[in-house]
């Protein structure tokens, strides 16, 4: 797939396939120490592959250079400020990587018998207890693989709970500020979405909620603080309305970083909570995963938790020591959500993190996250900025806040997208943009607790500079960025004529006709 294409492009944009040359290799096969039986004697010819897959032929040094080269085209958290709202881009402690790589964890087979995996099962059990304590809910399953998978678990649990009580409920309420995974999960779980509005103060519109909560309501999915970064002051009343209707109250834990040791979802009245270990509990995000989305639940939901559960059996098998085991005997369980025991390597990192900061440290995490967010909010409310980027809801915020770019659009002729792109030239990752949907030209900013005051000041200065520059010449922002490995990319063309794999030389590019892309910028999370 390579040679002619290889000649045309500058070296630093070649794919690994275009660097391939026949006869090169990195892999050296272990010795064949058994009889060399002809392959055709071992597999029938109609099940044999006729042509090898077109994987690259390339040496180890060139693979290393290729991926190192690519890495340099990424901006990352270890390099700079990353205030991506709703994503909790906090420092990922280096110790976590060291302990996750211990062979006792990283080379442990998932089907190892529990008696030979006691350390791993104990770690999972301990993490379950820690998460239970943080959530204020007694039972935890670590199984879901990410936040959205936890949401799916939550709605499956809700369904199982209602069915067990002989009820068929069909609707799930989600606020109009909800993250996209919430309504998407509702549909996937076989329910219908009913949107609940937002009140003047940024919380759930109680009248609308009262109107819509009824005996067909299965669940209300909520984040608290919500995606505007505001703690819903009416949370007790919300819980009452939802529970009076016989529905469950689901906590999207993406924003848990605001309330560790401050307020527990269980105490707020939530029945089911998911955690994003890749946000609150420092699993590095890896450019799009891995994550993990454990769930914590109340007693009434516990019978339905996924299988298997990690349990601690006291003095089992005649031992004086407790025995950690996988419990499959769960007759009311919703079943499995995935293979084996979940993203165990993520559990190791999050467990190490929680042990490192401890109970006192977790509270400090949230206090500092909220302090940093409010400080940055105050800095961005200064004259010269606030006229252009007014805050969407003018209240104290929790760990994040949302500005509206409508001032910049109306007064300077630049859009939120332009500000985001110009920030790239300032070596800062832009905030989340165009989300939540109910804020016009939204910029959602989450600094996290691990940033210094100097960095927050630097961000405020960058925003001020961009706005001042736009007063002089809005074209600068509109054409930004200038200093990045590539500049603005034609996303519309990419969707219209999708090229989603490297072309094979004989076939030409894989192009398909597509639908029209949207002209308005879309939410970035």
């Amino acid at each position: 797939m390579r040679s002619e294409a290889g000649g045309r492009r500058p070296e630093n944009t070649l794919t690994i396939y275009e660097k391939s040359r026949e006869g090169r290799r990195a892999f050296v096969s272990p010795e064949l120490d058994v009889p060399e039986i002809p392959i055709s004697d071992l597999l029938p010819s109609d099940l044999l592959r006729s042509e090898p897959p077109e994987l690259p032929e390339i040496s180890e040094p060139e693979i290393v250079r290729h991926y190192n080269g690519l890495s340099k085209k990424n901006f990352d958290l270890d390099t700079g400020f990353y205030p991506l709202g709703s994503c909790t881009m906090k420092h990922n402690p280096k110790l976590n990587e060291r302990v996750a790589a211990l062979p006792g964890f990283s080379r442990l087979h998932p089907l190892q018998e529990p008696q030979y995996a006691q350390g791993a099962l104990e770690l999972m059990w301990r993490l379950q207890r820690q998460l239970s304590e943080v959530a204020g809910l007694p039972h935890v399953s670590l199984q879901p693989s990410a936040g959205s998978h936890g949401e799916l678990a939550g709605l499956l649990l809700t369904r199982a709970y209602h069915e067990d009580n002989g009820e068929q409920r069909t609707k799930v309420l989600t606020p109009d500020t909800a993250h996209g995974t919430n309504p998407a999960t509702v549909t996937m779980s076989g329910y219908e979405v009913v949107k609940v509005g937002t009140a003047e103060d940024g919380g759930v519109d109680l009248d609308d909620l009262r109107d819509k909560a009824g005996d067909d309501t299965a669940c209300l999915m909520l984040t608290n603080p919500n995606t505007l970064g505001l703690f819903d002051r009416n949370i007790e009343e919300i819980a009452r309305i939802v529970h009076d209707a016989g529905a469950t109250l689901y906590y999207d834990g993406a924003n848990l970083n605001a309330v560790l040791g401050i307020s527990r979802p269980g105490d707020m009245g939530f029945d089911i909570v998911h955690f994003n270990l890749h946000k609150t509990f420092t699993q590095p995000h890896g450019g799009g995963g891995p994550g993990a989305g454990p769930i914590a639940v109340s007693d009434r939901i516990e019978p339905y938790l996924p299988r298997p559960q990690v349990v601690r059996r006291e003095g089992a098998n005649g031992h004086s020591e407790p025995f950690f085991d996988l419990d499959f005997e769960r007759p009311k369980s919703i079943g499995r959500l995935r293979g084996f025991q979940g993203n165990f390597g993520v559990f190791v990192r999050s467990y190490a993190y929680i042990c490192s900061v401890g109970g006192d440290g977790l509270k400090d995490v949230s206090e500092t996250a909220v302090l940093n967010a409010n400080y940055l909010r105050a800095r961005l409310a200064e004259p010269g900025i606030a006229e252009y980027l007014p805050i969407a809801f003018d209240r104290l915020c929790m760990h994040e806040f949302v500005l509206s770019g409508r001032g910049a659009r109306d007064k300077l002729g630049i859009r939120t997208l332009d500000i985001a792109k110009r920030l790239l030239d300032h070596k800062v990752h832009p905030p989340t943009v165009y989300f939540p949907l109910l804020v016009d030209e939204a910029l959602m900013i989450e600094p996290t607790e691990t940033e210094t005051k100097e960095r927050l000041d630097g961000f405020a200065d960058a925003i001020r500079e961009i706005l001042e520059e736009a007063k002089e010449d809005p074209e600068i922002a509109k054409n930004a960025p200038y200093t990045t490995p590539v500049r603005r990319l034609d996303e519309a063309a990419a969707a219209r004529h999708p090229v989603v794999r490297q072309a094979r030389p004989e076939a030409g590019g894989r192009r398909a006709e597509g639908g029209a892309p949207s002209a308005t910028p879309s939410p970035s999370i």
Partner: protein
């Protein structure tokens, strides 16, 4: 101050002044009293780094890992060698610590990796389009079922009993939610999907037929006739495939498979007690706009320079919300990176050579163990044997630091005294001979 925060008392005072409040507590005034946490978190205080390390090391030492034993365990994840260059590249912060590439101008590395990954998966499976990763194997199988349901609205999944038990159970979990039924097709006497039973189970209500290649017992299924029977009424044909066998096995795309999914652990990912690894998802062109997950596409920037973006996002939750084709958001990008590095390291020749090595060593092991074969047909790197004295074999093997394989009885009561044995390139002839000695020793005692 906890170790990862840096606000000093002086910082705090200045920041509170700027905010216009007197204390940090005041920042939380929106939280109603009754829902405040009054007691401190019931957990020990933080620990010094070295103490955390020692604690974790002590836990790790209470596991028997694949470095401490000779393992023949498989059943979906395998003890393959992970080349050192993967560790080194994955620890680069530019890959380890960014979020999903929402800002393509500063994410070209991650986006190009996705594009290269999609290409590799497409090549392996023989299907034209692939996404940038799923969580892992079994949930990818369930997701393929969900897509079939969206596509044809039919309500029945016909699933071979040879599909990984975790995949079948995950599919059933998902299917219950959107109201689909799961019908299982038994295996025949040779541990392969029963063709007649499959043909009989497929009807006009069948939304998808789901097979696995090789199946859970290691049997290489005769996909041609199975595919023909599966597609007779227009159902979507889904095949879960073991990607590392696709250097030698005819790819699913050549059998008319519509969607190929699978577990990616065997491609350069650690065992990690079951995760994180990655799932993959490849399909025919027809499903490009219904597929779950991120897809990277090639385009150009304003200067005409080549670049990559997340594309076809109108399938996804952040754009389409309740109309999205799936709810997945965070997936397994870093693990997929390990996968594409691994496949580049193996390369076009290596993927075949490794497949052939596994095939030959597995053939040798089947001979050497000399036990009754549950699945006597073709296999690549895994097979099941019946051992009347299985308990004893397992006990002896364990005593000698050998994990003899996975006992089938939990998921397959019909294979009560059977063992599933996996032979990766890590298992040498010597290892196999040691296991054979134990198996034969135990048998001789029975006969004595």
């Amino acid at each position: 101050m906890s170790r990862y925060t840096s606000a000093t008392d002086a910082d705090r005072r200045e920041m509170l002044d700027a905010i216009g409040v007197g204390s940090v507590e005041e920042l939380f005034r929106d939280i109603p009293e009754p829902v405040r946490q009054r007691e401190p978190i019931a957990m020990p205080d933080g620990m010094a780094e070295q103490d955390v390390y020692d604690h974790l090391r002590a836990l790790a030492s209470r596991n028997r890992d694949a470095e401490q034993e000779v393992t023949f365990a498989g059943g979906g994840m395998y003890d393959h060698y992970v080349p050192a260059l993967i560790d080194s590249i994955l620890q680069r912060s530019e890959f380890l610590t960014p979020y999903t590439p929402y800002q393509p101008e500063i994410s070209q590395g991650g986006l190009q990796v996705m594009f290269e990954f999609q290409t590799a998966i497409s090549e392996l499976t023989g299907l034209p389009v692939a996404n940038a990763s799923m969580y892992e194997g079994p949930s990818s199988v369930a997701s393929a079922g969900y897509m079939a349901r969206l596509d044809n609205g039919r309500s029945k999944f016909v699933v071979s009993r040879g599909v990984h038990p975790n995949s079948r159970e995950t599919l059933a979990t998902y299917a219950h939610a959107f109201g689909s039924e799961v019908v299982e097709v038994p295996l025949d006497g040779r541990g392969a999907t029963h063709l007649g039973a499959l043909a009989a189970a497929v009807d006009d209500d069948t939304s998808a037929v789901i097979l696995q290649q090789p199946n859970f017992l290691g049997t290489v299924e005769d996909l041609g006739p199975l595919a023909e029977a599966a597609k007779r009424t227009g159902a979507v044909l889904v095949c879960a495939v073991d990607p590392l066998t696709l250097g030698i096995l005819r790819p699913p795309g050549e059998f008319g498979v519509d969607v190929a999914v699978g577990e990616g652990q065997s491609l350069g990912n650690r065992l990690d007690f079951g995760g994180p690894s990655f799932g993959f998802y490849a399909a025919t062109e027809k499903f490009l706009r219904r597929m779950p997950g991120r897809i990277a596409g090639e385009t150009v920037d304003v200067d005409g320079k080549r670049g990559f973006v997340l594309t076809l996002q109108t399938r996804e939750q952040h754009i389409r919300r309740e109309k999205a084709t799936h709810n997945i958001c965070t997936a397994q990008a870093l693990n997929a990176l390990a996968g594409v590095i691994y496949l580049s390291w193996l390369g076009k020749r290596g993927v075949v050579e490794l497949g052939e090595l596994m095939l030959r060593r597995t053939a040798y092991a089947r001979e050497a163990l000399g036990a009754e074969l549950v699945n006597p047909g073709p296999v690549v790197r895994e097979f099941a044997i019946r051992l009347p004295n299985l308990d004893e074999v397992c006990e002896r093997a364990r005593a000698e630091g050998i994990n003899p394989g996975h006992r089938l009885r939990y998921y397959y009561p019909e294979y009560e005294d059977c063992l599933l044995v996996a032979i990766t390139e890590r298992r040498t002839r010597k290892d196999i001979d040691r296991l054979a000695e134990i198996v034969q020793g135990a048998r001789e005692e029975v006969h004595a």
